[in-house]
Subunit: 402 residues, 2 copies
């Protein structure tokens, strides 16, 4: 008998029938002899709907009030799931983030967990009850309701698995696991049975939508084994865990793509110390989420700097960059919203210098131009035309025999 | 400058536009120089929708989980109203029942307030902010979320007005005040500008739907002046307050009717001490909400007992009554769902013996048979056929010159 944390995303609890199916699954796990702590997100698209409602009511949306509003969604889901569990003879109690012991900072809409005091959950478990916790929520040191941000339910689940010493943390979603490429683009894409924390992190950072990156970071830090799996087929999915030396190491594990970003380039930048630092400090202070950064080797004392940002942040990024370019007498600023990123992820890459070469050869053979390149020890990312990204993913998936 | 508690019911905040109108009104009150504490109900029919959702998910609905579910509705409304106030430049903070300091017992779905510690609201007021409190909610001594029941937002508002020493408590609703009769039945019905607590209590107990009876009881106990008014026309409504000796006293203030109950009669009951006590103890233990009780004078050692109950409680009441009737050898039990009650309310009735006579004469002249009669110092209620209640209200409204 062990303790398992089971987290169910919005699509998993989208309507009464889905909630009853989730309750069935939790009940099966309990009857199998394991203790369960459940974490739920808001039903279906409810969080989006609440944000839309806020927009219809007011132009200003103070963080404190947005958090009070949005966390109502998870409350509903916890209470309904508890009722469905009672209906199956499984005693269950709902807990808000505050009741579950999540103490956070005061950064509304994107709060950080400072401390977790899960005494009430432990007491419920001792009484043979199943706690159902609202995802992505907590209470600040000012005693206000806080929201951990989109995808925060995964973080709630991993933090609870760590604090309660759970055997593992199951993240139920609407896909059956982590794939070698997006199955909508690559029909032959394969579900991986295991993946290391490092690879999973690179994949989420490179566009793989689930699980939320922050929860993977926490899981890696705390050594919490994740099991990403489907709440629709209930089949085993993908384990995310410490790389085991015995694990057979594929050179490349997966191809990931991302079409959510745009590119900004400052050309003719005087190659002096501190200019890149100033640029990215200005962007950071404006809360622009800069992702990939590439600076070419300097020639003749001038250089180009390119970076990618989410589409929504493009206008602001252009404005900031243009102002700085004028000040430092750079030759110009250009931007491009028609890009996409394709990335190869694989822990085996570290000791295999041929991966980059094969990547570039494959894309070249397909007539796909590479506009930017960035690499880490276990990742190669190429910026290509958005219109060619689907083909790029397919060609690379085949070339690396995934 | 004084402090006013303003409570807005579900129809007053049913959609974004209504929420903005309510914010406008609160802002006007603030700019007039008064401090305001706002209490809101869930938007429109949201509470009904949440209850429907619970029914779709589960056959069992534990009170603790129902309260967690239902209170989500008021949370949303408080946050949205705060945003709309910020939009108008009025700093406002939302508070759950727990944050507002409502400590209750553990009677889920219908909790009673044990204590009110509104320190956070007082601090917000000192800072020049407008607190917006979720109606009908609190936290139990077990630290669970509790719901005060339907109509509980009125109670929240009255309790806050008392605890904060407010000048008055404004209950905003979808009608412009308290009327001498239901305006849908009697087009000439008149809004009363003032009414005493006693009369208001008798009216709510006799079928007048607003304000909630419990809040009127509390207001009377604590001497909180109520102002029942419209959130659609924003015109002054009806003041409910201590009867002032100088107040000109109408003999009869209003005609109220109620079609929500059914009648049960046990006939041929042996007239022995303790039989009525047993019957109504059995019904109370089954949580049947018995309203009007009439026992006729005993003749020849046997008597009839009639009482009214909500339609929903009728089958259970018949079963309980029939079982007891057999045991005590009563001659029979009958029930009737086709009844209605018409009541005359008036503090002036106390010293005016002609009211009962005129009531009975008026109904007789209209050919309306009276099936049961019950009176208090300031009320006369008659049970009549449901099909004749509209006519009864109209005839009495005219006969008493309302």
């Amino acid at each position: 008998m062990s303790l398992i944390v089971q987290k169910f995303g919005g699509t998993s609890v989208a309507d009464p029938e889905r909630i009853r199916e989730v309750a069935d699954h939790v009940a099966r796990t309990r009857r199998h002899g394991d203790d369960v702590v459940v974490v739920v997100s808001a039903m279906g698209k409810e969080t989006d709907e609440l944000i839309r409602l806020a927009g219809a009511v007011s132009k200003v949306r103070p963080g404190r009030e947005m958090d009070m509003l949005i966390t109502a969604g998870e409350r509903k889901a916890t209470a309904l799931l508890c009722m469905a569990l009672h209906d199956l003879g499984i005693p269950a109690d709902s807990f808000t983030g505050s009741q579950a012991g999540f103490i956070t900072d005061n950064t509304h809409t994107n709060a950080k967990i400072l401390e977790l005091r899960p005494e009430r959950l432990q007491a419920a478990l001792r009484d043979g009850r199943t706690p159902v916790v609202g995802g992505a929520q907590g209470v600040s040191s000012d005693r206000d309701v806080t929201f951990l941000g989109r995808g925060g339910s995964d973080t709630t689940a991993v933090a609870l698995a760590h604090a309660l010493g759970a055997h593992s943390c199951e993240l139920y979603t609407d896909v059956p696991g982590v794939f070698t490429a997006d199955p909508r683009l690559v029909p032959s894409a394969r579900r991986m049975s295991t993946i290391s924390f490092d690879e999973m992190l690179e994949m989420t950072a490179s566009g793989c939508p689930k699980p939320a990156m922050r929860s993977v970071e926490f899981a890696r830090t705390w050594g919490v084994k994740l099991h990403v799996r489907s709440a629709f087929t209930w089949e085993p999915g993908t384990w995310v865990q410490e790389e085991e030396p015995s694990m057979e190491q594929a050179v490349v594990s997966a191809v990931v793509h991302d079409t959510s970003e745009a590119k900004v380039t400052v050309s003719g930048v005087p190659d002096q110390p501190g200019i890149a630092a100033r640029l990215f400090r200005l962007l950071a202070d404006a809360a622009v989420n800069v992702d990939m950064i590439v600076q070419n080797t300097s020639e003749h004392g001038i250089t180009d700097i390119s970076f990618t940002v989410p589409h929504d942040d493009l206008p602001q990024s252009e404005a900031i960059t243009t102002a700085l370019a004028t000040e430092i007498s750079a030759s110009g600023v250009s931007s491009d919203a028609g890009i996409a990123r394709v990335s190869l992820i694989g822990a085996g890459m570290k000791s295999n210098p041929g991966v980059a070469a094969l990547t570039f050869e494959t894309l070249a053979a397909a007539g796909i131009n590479i506009e930017m390149i960035s690499t880490s020890a276990i990742r190669i990312s190429c910026i290509v035309r958005q219109s060619q990204v689907e083909q790029a993913v397919q060609e690379l998936h085949t070339a690396f025999g995934l």
